[in-house]
């Protein structure tokens, strides 16, 4: 069966850009070539009546689903995995479809493990693609980016798994400073389900980064979080901060947190 988790009728065009680029690995220019395609439940809205009906009902259209039907007789599994979008400031208006999972016939425990591994692998690929796409993005304070929309989407739907992967990516990946700034600001203002402590931990760790630009981004993120646990941390960091202008900006954050 298909799990339909959200309507896609009123989805925003920009969100579709994000999804298509991330999940289909194509660049934004292709939007002009395939203006009617979506990455929603039915994959396409410019189809004939039957296709459109399938799209609305969430009935599978992808060929791989047929194989799944052959295999899934004894195992109750969804035939596709989707993310419901709820970006930081965006309506729940679009669906992210993960790579088709591959299921093995076997015991329920084994199949669940395989399914979990498949989700994690899909999440890892998704986050990887978000970072690849981000390399060509221009980021601006106060504006959502494709990166933040995508991260919010996966973190809303699979908070624990996605945050674990994001954290791992941050530790091993050589991100440019501007992407790292965008991620830190995002972590500061993202209201996740059950990941607040981890977000706080990641952000505060970057207060000790070698680059003052990143330390600044971490302090700004703490200001966005408005978490009073940051007060003693900031007091300690301010005492050792050598960059004068940054120290002054951190003091402003500290003062606001104490209010």
């Amino acid at each position: 069966m298909t799990q339909q988790v959200a309507p896609i009728g009123d989805e925003d065009r920009r969100e579709r850009y994000v999804l298509r680029s991330v999940f289909e690995g194509i660049n934004f220019a292709k939007e002009a070539l395939y203006p009617n395609r979506t990455s929603g439940v039915g994959r396409s809205t410019g189809l004939d009546a039957l296709g459109a009906t399938y799209a609305l009902l969430g009935d599978p259209i992808n060929p791989w689903v047929v194989n799944l039907y052959d295999l899934s007789g004894a195992i109750e599994v969804p035939d596709r995995l989707m993310f419901l979008s709820s970006g930081t400031n965006l309506p729940n208006a679009f669906v992210v479809e993960l790579d088709p999972p591959f299921y093995h016939v076997g015991t329920a425990g084994v199949s669940r493990a395989v399914e979990g591994a498949s989700v994690r692998e899909s999440l890892r690929k998704t986050i990887d693609r978000l970072f690849v796409t981000a390399e060509g993005e221009h980021f601006e304070d106060g504006m959502e980016s494709n990166l933040t929309i995508g991260l919010a989407t996966v973190l809303r739907q699979y908070p624990r798994e996605a945050f674990g992967i994001l954290k791992a990516e941050l530790s091993v990946r050589r991100l440019s400073l501007r992407i790292l700034i965008e991620v830190l600001h995002f972590l500061g203002r993202f209201k996740g389900r059950g990941t607040a402590d981890e977000q706080f931990g990641v952000v505060t760790a970057y207060l000790y980064h070698t680059s003052p630009v990143i330390r600044d981004a971490a302090a700004v993120a703490l200001a966005y979080m408005r978490d009073k646990r940051a007060i003693p941390v900031l007091e300690k960091v301010i005492a050792s901060e050598k960059v004068n202008s940054l120290r002054e900006d951190m003091k402003v954050v500290l003062a606001e947190l104490k209010m």
């Binding site: 304070d141 400073l177 501007r178 070698t210 003052p212 200001a223 966005y224 050598k242």
Partner: protein, 189 residues
């Protein structure tokens, strides 16, 4: 749509007090004296190349706001108008500089209407025009040397928005709901 009001605005007389605001994103790249990891290779008064991303041109133009002594558009009012255009409440980095700097660099500007929610702020919008790569780099370097780089925190930016709403410079009905929500969360309204 951009409306060109006039094609060239002569430099202001030296006695006239005015300042120009340009929005930035990464204040720490604009320090007069390089600090931290930049200090090991950047000379005082030099602009790190990454900072050019904060003065990214479009059609060889760069958007600035002229804050004139007699103008109703104060610094806070300009910041409020720019901050409310965003999708969420965020810190606001900017640089202030003397308009005479533009004449020194041979940079022309045009008065064009801004597209904020505040009419008076729109009127003080200017486009720096006919920018070449060299002029842009010189402009950035001059900003580092002669400009004043400042920041309003997200809360302060929210207060600027609120002041403009209270004074009816900005129509509250047009303020994005996310911004309103965030202002309420921060106790600004």
């Amino acid at each position: 749509m951009t409306v060109v009001l006039e094609f060239f605005e002569p430099p202001l007389p030296p006695t006239h007090m005015a300042t120009v605001l340009r929005k930035l994103d990464r204040k720490q790249l604009w320090n007069k004296k390089p600090e931290g990891d930049l200090a090991s290779w950047l000379q005082e008064g030099e602009l790190p190349a990454d900072a050019l991303q904060d003065i990214k041109t479009d059609s060889n133009r760069l958007s600035v706001f002229l804050i004139d002594d007699g103008s109703p558009a104060t610094l806070e009012r300009v910041i409020g108008a720019l901050a409310v255009k965003r999708q969420y409440l965020a810190k606001f980095d900017y640089v202030l500089f003397n308009p005479a700097l533009l004449a020194e660099l041979g940079i022309e500007w045009e008065a064009t209407l801004g597209d904020t929610l505040d009419v008076a702020v729109n009127a003080c919008h200017r486009d720096l025009v006919k920018l070449t790569a060299i002029k842009l780099a010189d402009f950035g370097t001059s900003l580092v040397r002669k400009g004043n780089v400042e920041r309003k925190s997200d809360r302060e930016a929210g207060r600027c928005i609120n002041d403009s709403i209270q004074a009816k410079f900005i129509d509250v009905a047009k303020v994005p709901i996310q911004i309103v929500q965030q202002m309420v969360e921060r106790g600004i309204q």
